[in-house]
C-alpha cells in the first residue's frame, strides 16, 4: 500500500492552494454578500488550467488523473464553496458527459472552449417535479424530421445562466416502451430560440455560484445534438452522477479542512479565563474529533478516486465518500462555529459562510438519504 501522492499531485495541491489564498480568499466574502458571479475569477481559474483537468490534451484539456482534479476541488473548497462549485459543476457535470459520450465532432466542437474559463456548460437533470426521483422527469424531446423538439423545464441548474454559459446537456423523455419512459440526452446551445434561462437569486449558500431555472418552449435543435444514443439517458445520468459525487465529496472535505483550520487557529488565539480556549479539554477534544473526521473523509474519498483511476468499480465508494464528506463538512463547520462563539455568527468571520455553504452538500447530486439508498442496494440489502 502506498499513501504518497505523486510529485505532480503535490505540486497541484500547492499551486491551487496558493491560487485560492491569493486570488479567491480576498474577494470571497464580498462576492458572497453581493451574490455575484465572478467572471474574472472564472477566467483566472481557466488560465490556471483547472477546467478540463481530466480532458485529453487534444481537446484542450490537461489529461490529468481523477485524484489530481479532486485535490484541486478540495483546495478551492478549503477557501470558498462558491468557486469550488463553479469549478466542480463545470468539470464533472458540464464537461463530464460531453467527454464520456460525445462523438469526436461534438468533442472537438465544444470541449476546447470549455477548458479556458471563457465558456461554461451545465447539466440539466432536476425538474420541479423530479428531484431525487429523476424518473419523474416531464421534459420531452420529440424527433421531428431532422430536429429534436424539446418542451419542459429544469430547476437548480448550476452554471446555466451567466453570460459565458454556452449550453446545457438536457435530460428528456423521448418516448415510452412497455410503459417505461425512454430517457435521452440532448445538447442545447444557449442561443437556441425558445430556450430561456432565468437566474435564481438569493440562495442561502454558494451565493457567488450561478444557479438557474431553464425553460424549453418548442426548442428545436439538430438531430446531431443527440448525446450518446436514444435511450441512453438514464445510463449517462447515473454515470455522470457517480463522477459528480467525488467532486461533491471533495467540496465537503475541503470545506471541513478549511473550517477545522479556522477553528484551530481561533481556539489557540482566543483567551478566556486566562488561557487560550484550546486549552480547555472539551475544546481540545472537539478539535481532535474534527481532525479525525477530516482524515477519515480524505482517506475514503482518495480511495474512491484511486479506484476510478484504476478503472475498477467505484460506485459504492463514491456514494460513501459523498455521504461521509458532506456530513463531516456539516459537523465540522457546526463545531467550528461553536468554537468561534458569537464571532462565528458574524459575516466578518469566514466560518459564517462555511457554515452556510456546507448545507447544500447533503442535498445536491443525490441527498444523504438517496446516498444511503444507493449504498444499501450495493451492499445487498
Amino acid at each position: 500500500m502506498n499513501f504518497d501522492l505523486s510529485p505532480e499531485q503535490i505540486m497541484i495541491r500547492e499551486t491551487v492552494r496558493e491560487f485560492a489564498e491569493r486570488e479567491v480568499k480576498p474577494v470571497a466574502q464580498e462576492l458572497d454578500e453581493k451574490s455575484e458571479f465572478s467572471y474574472e475569477l472564472t477566467r483566472k481559474i481557466g488560465e490556471l488550467g483547472l477546467f478540463g483537468m481530466n480532458i485529453p490534451e487534444k481537446f484542450g484539456g490537461q489529461g490529468l488523473d481523477t485524484l489530481s482534479y479532486i485535490i484541486a476541488v478540495e483546495e478551492m473548497a478549503r477557501v470558498d464553496g462558491s468557486q469550488a462549485a463553479t469549478l466542480a459543476a463545470h468539470n464533472s457535470l458540464g464537461i463530464g458527459p460531453l467527454l464520456d459520450y460525445g462523438t469526436e465532432e461534438q468533442k472537438l466542437k465544444y470541449l476546447p472552449s470549455l477548458c479556458t474559463g471563457t465558456g461554461l456548460w451545465s447539466f440539466g437533470l432536476t425538474e420541479p417535479g423530479a428531484g431525487s426521483d429523476s424518473r419523474g422527469s416531464k421534459t420531452t424531446a420529440v424527433l421531428d424530421g431532422d430536429e429534436w423538439v424539446i418542451n419542459g423545464s429544469k430547476i437548480f441548474i448550476t452554471n446555466a445562466s451567466v453570460d459565458i454559459s454556452l449550453g446545457c446537456t438536457v435530460q428528456a423523455v423521448s418516448g415510452e416502451q412497455n410503459g417505461n419512459k425512454i430517457f435521452t440526452t440532448i445538447i442545447v446551445e444557449k442561443d437556441t430560440p425558445g430556450f430561456r434561462r432565468v437566474p435564481m437569486h438569493n440562495k442561502m449558500m454558494w451565493r457567488a455560484s450561478d444557479t438557474a431555472e431553464l425553460f424549453f418552449d418548442d426548442v428545436r435543435v439538430p438531430k446531431a445534438n443527440l448525446l450518446g444514443k436514444v435511450g441512453d439517458g438514464s445510463h449517462i445520468m447515473l454515470h455522470t452522477l457517480d463522477g459528480g459525487r467525488l467532486s461533491i465529496g471533495a467540496m465537503g472535505l475541503g470545506l471541513a479542512q478549511g473550517a477545522f483550520e479556522m477553528a484551530l487557529a481561533y481556539a489557540n488565539e482566543r483567551q478566556q479565563f486566562g488561557k487560550p480556549i484550546a486549552k480547555f479539554q472539551i475544546n481540545a477534544f472537539k478539535l481532535a474529533d474534527m481532525a479525525l473526521k477530516v482524515e477519515l473523509a480524505r482517506n475514503l474519498l482518495y480511495k474512491a478516486c484511486w479506484l476510478k483511476d484504476e478503472h475498477r468499480p467505484y460506485s459504492k465508494e463514491a456514494a460513501m465518500a459523498k455521504l461521509y464528506c458532506s456530513e463531516v463538512a456539516k459537523e465540522v463547520a457546526d463545531e467550528a462555529v461553536q468554537i468561534h462563539g458569537g464571532y462565528g455568527l458574524m459575516k466578518d468571520y469566514a466560518i459564517e459562510r462555511f457554515y452556510r455553504d456546507q448545507r447544500l452538500l447533503q442535498i445536491g447530486e443525490g441527498t444523504s438519504e438517496i446516498q444511503r439508498m444507493v449504498i444499501s442496494r450495493l451492499i445487498g440489502c
Binding site: 505532480e8 503535490i10 499551486t15 488550467g49 483537468m53 490537461q62
Partner: protein
C-alpha cells in the same frame, strides 16, 4: 540571450524555527520547503522576458541534495526550460558560489536573489560574479531588454537609475523585479515532468564559515491591556516596566 536563475531552497516563511545538535544546526523536521521568494520573483521576470522575445533559454540551478528537487520541478513548472542540481549539501555562501561557478559560464544573464530567506547571507550573487570574473549589479529592481540591449533599474536614494549593462553579468535582484510570483498552470506542471533536471557532481570547494551557534530572539512578553481611561497606569508601565520613558 540565455538566462541562469539561481534557486535557493528555503523553509516556508511561516515555518516555526527550531534548532538541534546543541543549537548548532537548523532542525528541518517537518519543514515545508519553497523557492526563496526573491528567486521566485527573478524566475517570474525571466519567464516574462522570454514571453516577450529575446530570450532563448532559461536554466535554473541549485546547490543542494536530492531533497531540493521538488523546488526545482516547481521552477520548471513556472517556466524554466531546464534545471541543474549540483549534488552537494549547501553549507556556506563561498562553497555555494564556487559550485555555481562551475555551471554558470555559458549564460549571458545570471539572476540571484538579494538574499536567501533562510540564512540571509546576501553573499552568493556577488561572490559568483567575482569567481566568474564578470560584472555584478546589486539591488536590481527591474530588468528589460530593448533592441537586444539589457537594461537594469535600480532604486537609489530619492529616485531611480537605469543602467545599460554588457553581458555576461550577474543581476542581484530585489523588490520590484516582478509584481508577484507566477503560479504554475496545470499545463506547466505536466510539462515539467518531461523537462531535463540534470544532476551534476560537485567540484571541490571549501567552506569558509561554519556555525558556532544559533539563538532564537527572546520570547515576546504577554500583551498587557490597559483600560482606555487609565493613561496614568500606561505611563507608569512604560516608565517602570518597559523602561522606555
Amino acid at each position: 540571450m540565455k538566462i541562469l536563475v539561481l534557486i535557493s531552497n528555503v523553509p516556508d516563511t511561516t515555518t516555526k524555527i527550531r534548532f538541534k545538535s546543541d543549537n548548532t544546526a537548523f532542525d528541518d523536521a517537518g519543514v515545508q520547503w519553497i523557492i526563496n521568494p526573491w528567486d521566485e520573483l527573478a524566475l517570474t521576470r525571466a519567464v516574462e522576458l522570454k514571453e516577450t522575445g529575446g530570450v532563448s533559454l532559461i536554466t535554473v540551478a541549485n546547490v543542494g541534495n536530492a531533497s531540493t528537487e521538488p523546488t526545482l520541478r516547481k521552477a520548471l513548472a513556472v517556466g524554466a526550460d531546464d534545471a541543474i542540481r549540483i549534488d552537494v549539501e549547501a553549507r556556506d555562501a563561498f562553497e555555494v558560489a564556487t559550485q555555481l561557478a562551475s555551471v554558470a559560464k555559458d549564460y549571458d544573464l545570471i539572476m540571484a536573489g538579494i538574499e536567501a530567506s533562510d540564512y540571509n547571507g546576501s553573499a552568493v550573487g556577488g561572490m559568483l560574479a567575482e569567481l566568474l570574473d564578470i560584472a555584478s549589479v546589486s539591488s536590481v529592481s527591474g530588468i528589460n531588454i530593448e533592441n537586444g540591449q539589457l537594461l537594469f533599474n535600480r532604486e537609489i536614494d530619492g529616485g531611480s537609475q537605469v543602467l545599460s549593462v554588457t553581458t555576461p553579468v550577474v543581476a542581484i535582484v530585489q523588490k520590484g523585479i516582478a509584481k508577484e510570483p507566477r503560479i504554475p498552470a496545470m499545463r506547466g506542471i505536466m510539462m515539467a515532468r518531461k523537462k531535463e533536471l540534470k544532476v551534476t557532481a560537485p567540484v571541490s570547494a571549501e567552506d569558509r564559515t561554519s556555525f558556532v551557534r544559533f539563538e532564537l530572539p527572546p520570547k515576546k512578553a504577554a500583551c498587557k491591556m490597559v483600560a482606555e481611561d487609565n493613561a496614568k497606569e500606561l505611563v507608569r508601565l512604560l516608565h517602570e516596566e518597559a523602561k522606555v520613558l
